[in-house]
């Protein structure tokens, strides 16, 4: 009550009011605080990290135990320390993408968005801040997970044909590429959540885009497949962190460019809907 009564005693025409102001940096700080004040953030990020490291370890261990045996799958036998360590990327992208959807769509499902947009009625800074904050967090977690997974994985497979060290050509690029990929998946998740304003819808489209559509493309005539397939989000993304590229896949740089374009497309759609339609 103290402030309210205090202002009452002052003349009405010249109230001594503090000069608050909304700035981009402050919206960022608010979104940062919002992200870490939810338990689901800690749990899902932990799961993402766990998936990345644990599946890498499992893949490396299995490779180690099967190497040299006659009935080993030839594709699996051609694995490298990098491909084995990054085996968990598929699962980690699910965790980080879903958390991205929750960061935005969760505000709509709970009603929090009304408080958020009443505080920042210009709206777009909220989307940029959410994408930046969560993209950065997903990037850090993804990069950390990739390096940890490789650290353990390369240790397990040392002395086998798959053995590699960080100094090996392309290894560092692959691991950083995996982190960057996971960061951008987080941004895409956040964009899809803001675009669809529904947790279930956002997750469905995310899973479809990253995991189902590549399978469906195989139903197309093969000449089309070769034209379309490399540009799909999941395949372009994979080019970013794969150590070796066959003739159909994009180069890491081109893969990054295509995946950034997909991210920008999703963000653009989200921005359009946020700015144009009622909350």
């Amino acid at each position: 009550m103290s402030t309210l009564t205090a202002t009452a005693e002052e003349p009405r025409t010249t109230p001594a009011r503090p000069a608050y102001r909304v700035t981009g940096r402050r919206v960022l700080a608010s979104e940062w605080a919002k992200l870490w004040s939810l338990r689901s953030t800690w749990i899902t990020l932990g799961l993402g990290l766990l998936f990345l490291v644990a599946f890498g370890l499992i893949a490396a261990s299995r490779y180690k135990s099967e190497i040299g045996s006659a009935h080993m799958d030839p594709d699996f036998a051609a694995s490298t320390a990098v491909s084995l360590s990054l085996f968990g990327t598929n699962f980690a992208q699910l965790a980080l993408g879903v958390l991205g959807v929750l960061v935005t769509a969760g505000e709509y499902s709970t009603g929090m968005i009304r408080s958020t947009l009443a505080a920042v009625p210009r709206r777009l800074p909220v989307l940029w801040s959410k994408a930046a904050v969560f993209g950065l967090v997903a990037l850090v977690v993804g990069t950390l997970g990739a390096f940890v997974a490789f650290g353990f994985g390369s240790g397990i497979v040392s002395g086998t044909p798959a053995a590699m060290s960080l100094s090996h050509a392309g290894v560092l690029r692959s691991l950083l590429g995996a982190g960057l990929y996971l960061g951008l998946v987080g941004v895409i998740g956040a964009a899809l959540g803001a675009l669809l304003r529904s947790v279930a819808g956002g997750i469905s489209v995310l899973v479809a885009a990253l995991m189902l559509i590549p399978g469906l493309i195989s139903l197309l005539p093969s000449s089309w497949q070769n034209d379309i397939s490399p540009y799909l989000p999941s395949n372009a993304g994979e080019s970013m962190f794969a150590l070796t590229h066959d003739s159909t896949a994009l180069s890491p740089g081109a893969g990054l460019l295509v995946f950034v374009c997909w991210t920008a497309l999703a963000l653009g759609g989200a921005a359009y809907r946020l700015a144009r339609t009622d909350a």
């Binding site: 009011r17 608050y20 608010s30 605080a33 338990r39 408080s115 009443a118 505080a119």
Partner: protein, 312 residues
């Protein structure tokens, strides 16, 4: 200060708010009344820019809400109770809002105390009762120390002590010179806090009036008298501005234009025995019901005429 001009919102075929013109002035509590579905919440959402008007405009302290540098300092709004993430604590919720404006942490603690949330501030908002949720919403509304406070159905879910707290809070805010705009569908609640009333029905403005004027327009005060000799009493009371009604053969009369005291004195002067003498003021609730019922009928009629004019 809230200024709405020809404010209109359509959702497809349905017109939720239909050309509202009103001004909410500082220093008083203005009640925003109407039956459910009258467009009150939609109007409030447009005031803080959550919904864009189909046509017309609404400004707060001279500018559209989104143009202000520190919107929370201009208008503090309690919209629907659930504008909070249930997984976040009350403190974290308020802090996240405060950070967008650079509002210091001390102010967050202040509004938590002000709303009586001190003991539950660290608990998840999802575990709050309806009343606690309302208190958190009000704390958020007051966070920016706003010039205009706008509350949508603030007493919903509050216990009697909470209702009393809201009443005193609203009056206090208005006494400090702030603009206070409160919606309700309960006239009885508004009568206790509001000085000014903006009444809407089906998205249209029905009345922009004061509590006293509304009662006067709704038929004023009548006095019920029961007497042994109704015919003689009628003659005695007759005069300019006085209206006496009553059924033939009944001992009861309804008198307007005289107070119960005046009627009693005149009856005593003429030696007429009275059995009952009671002032029956028209309740605001009744006045409100009359007003909105008329509006519904009126709108029904115009819609009929409209459709006749259009090629069906």
């Amino acid at each position: 200060m809230i200024d709405a001009q020809r404010l209109t919102k359509r959702y497809g075929e349905k017109t939720a708010v239909d050309g509202l013109d009103f001004v909410v002035k500082p220093g008083t509590v203005t009640g925003f009344l109407g039956p459910n579905g009258a467009g009150k919440s939609t109007t409030m959402r447009m005031i803080v820019g959550l919904d864009a008007p189909t046509s017309g405009s609404v400004t707060v302290n001279g500018h559209p809400y989104a143009r202000h540098r520190a919107p929370l300092q201009e208008v503090g709004a309690l919209l629907e109770a659930k504008s909070v993430h249930p997984g976040r604590s009350a403190y974290q919720h308020l802090r996240a809002l405060a950070l967008t404006h650079g509002i210091p942490g001390g102010r967050v603690d202040e509004v938590i105390d002000l709303a009586g949330l001190g003991s539950v501030a660290k608990k998840r908002a999802g575990a709050f009762s309806l009343g606690m949720g309302q208190r958190l919403g009000i704390a958020a509304a007051l966070l920016g120390d706003p010039q205009t406070v706008m509350l949508d159905e603030p007493v919903n879910g509050l216990d009697p002590e909470g209702v009393l707290w809201i009443r005193n809070l609203l009056k206090g805010l208005a006494d400090e010179g702030r603009t206070v705009f409160v919606s309700s569908h309960l006239m009885s609640e508004m009568a206790l806090v509001a000085d000014h009333l903006i009444i809407v029905g089906r998205g249209r403005l029905l009345a922009d009036t004061t509590v006293a004027d509304l009662i006067r327009e709704a038929g004023g005060d009548t006095v019920k008298v029961a007497t042994q000799d109704p015919a003689r009493l009628r003659d005695v009371l007759a005069g300019p501005g006085v209206d006496v009604t009553g059924r033939i053969g009944s001992e009861e009369l309804q008198v307007t234009g005289l107070t119960a005291r005046e009627i009693g004195l005149k009856a005593a002067e003429h030696g007429i025995a009275l059995f009952e003498l009671s002032a029956r003021s028209v309740s605001l609730e009744e006045a409100f019901m009359d007003l909105t019922r008329d509006a519904v009928e009126y709108h029904g009629a115009t819609t009929g005429i409209d459709t006749l004019g259009r090629p069906a």
